[in-house]
Symmetry: C2
Subunit: 293 residues, 2 copies
């Protein structure tokens, strides 16, 4: 595995891969890798000849009052995990490499960036869209892998890829959870033991709705109410809604198509998100390709 | 020469070129091609194995009161010119191919889009930046060619390429002029004979300043005043300024580095732009590569 920190080095390494006609899979991350990231890396190594993982805590997607400076980091552990999983290139640029002096371009994605998390994190998805497009252009992968946990991020990245004609296919892999249901997140490391116990209400709520849905309940508002009841231990439920997983439009009434139930809560100062997909016909849509947009 | 109207066709054609390791040059245009475009195409065919020309009158770069619907078109003449110049692919998509339903992403480039022409054409350069990035992603050229006449456009495209890490090099070729000095532009076709005579004041003003500069005059304000004097026959001088050709910052006082003198005027309802480069040390900077940013 090559550890690369600069763009010129990355360019040379990728050129060599491309000239030997290797397909390239890409997993962009903010580091502090967990089993959720590992599952994305495994999807990539299974499908592509060479896998590139980036570790970059992107400053432009954090708000002024958010957790940029205390975002968890463990580069040594990240390196070891990538090595073990057969990653070809671990790209860990400094901020100045990604945003040199004079940088002033940004990508906006319209209304889907302003709802859900966007309402509570203004500018966040502009930062995400811009850095992901930059990373795609740096790496030029054939496939890029994202986790379903970041549902809105996946919708926005699909939108950017489609709207800007970026030559990459996006694959979204299912959320990985702890045995007790908690969705893996680097931010879980912020939770005290009691906060972690309260955080379990989020997945419990989603599962309660999923179970009721499987039992035939189709009313979006009733499903949402069931989920919210389990989440009541949170300090704040920022949203808990049934949405179209691509447009992110909030849906009410009878559910008769593929939707997502998604939630964001704040517990002990930590913001957590989670979601599940609900499919009336029971088809497996956990793993969604770019072509479905 | 292949004439292509859809993205799937374009993809197949480009794949074949790439697999035979052909370098690709790209000349994006809005059609109604003139000798300025021809010079870009010739630069491309001289430097690249295959040249792609796009003809697309991009609606998103026209303001609501601008000339989108009457913008001049002559597809047959454009085709003949491209054929004669050895273009490999002429890409002429419909608007719906470029902007399908649901499209909502845009690229903003910060302050350099708000000065000069940006002040008089709000949103124009967001449209330009977005469509050029899209076309670059569609074509994935090695080199792309632009005319120096559109100075601000070249500065913005360089900025987007650099900031979004687009894997393409930008070459800017000198402005082509009529024998009497008028810079070639598709919009010259709007000019009546008397308006055309008035329009000559623009290049005459720039040349007067160039001559004074060559004679040793270095004061930006005096040079600008000389140029403006010749342009006085225009209905409106929107701007006539000495600027940094990359940041577009307006410069006053003593000129001791490479600058551009640029102007926009309105004559008989037609908006015309032109510029010249002034280089204190006499070096040839007419043909500027991406690496100079």
């Amino acid at each position: 595995m090559r550890i690369i920190r600069t763009l010129p080095e990355l360019k040379v390494a990728l050129k060599a891969l491309r000239e030997s006609h290797k397909s390239i899979g890409f997993v962009p991350t903010m580091g502090f890798l967990h089993e959720g990231h590992a599952s994305l890396i495994k999807q990539s190594t299974a499908r592509c000849d060479a896998t590139v993982v980036s570790v970059f805590v992107n400053p432009t997607q954090f708000g002024p009052t958010e957790d940029l400076s205390r975002y968890p980091r463990d580069l040594e552990r990240d390196q070891n995990l990538c090595l073990r999983l057969g990653v070809a290139i671990l790209f860990m640029p400094e901020a100045a490499e990604v945003y040199p002096t004079g940088f002033c371009t940004s990508i906006s994605v319209g209304p889907i960036a302003d709802v859900l998390c966007g309402e509570f994190r203004p500018g966040h998805f502009r930062g995400v869209a811009t850095v992901v497009a930059k990373l795609f252009n740096m790496v030029q992968p054939d496939l890029a892998f994202f986790g379903q946990k970041d549902l809105q991020q996946t919708a926005i990245i699909r939108r950017v890829v489609k709207d800007l004609n970026l030559p990459v296919d996006i694959l979204v892999a299912p959320t990985v959870r702890e045995a007790d249901g908690l969705a893996l997140s680097s931010r879980n490391s912020y939770l005290s033991a009691t906060d972690r116990a309260r955080a379990l209400g989020v997945s419990r709520g989603l599962f309660a709705a999923e179970k009721a849905f499987a039992g035939g309940l189709r009313d979006a508002d009733q499903l949402t109410a069931l989920a919210r009841k389990e989440m009541a231990g949170a300090d704040e439920i920022q949203y808990c809604r049934v949405v179209d997983p691509f447009t992110l439009d909030t849906l009410g009434g009878e559910i008769n198509r593929h939707v997502a139930l998604c939630a964001a809560v704040v517990i002990g100062g930590t913001r957590l998100i989670d979601n599940i997909l609900l499919t009336p016909n029971g088809e497996n849509v956990q793993f969604i390709s770019h072509l479905d947009v």
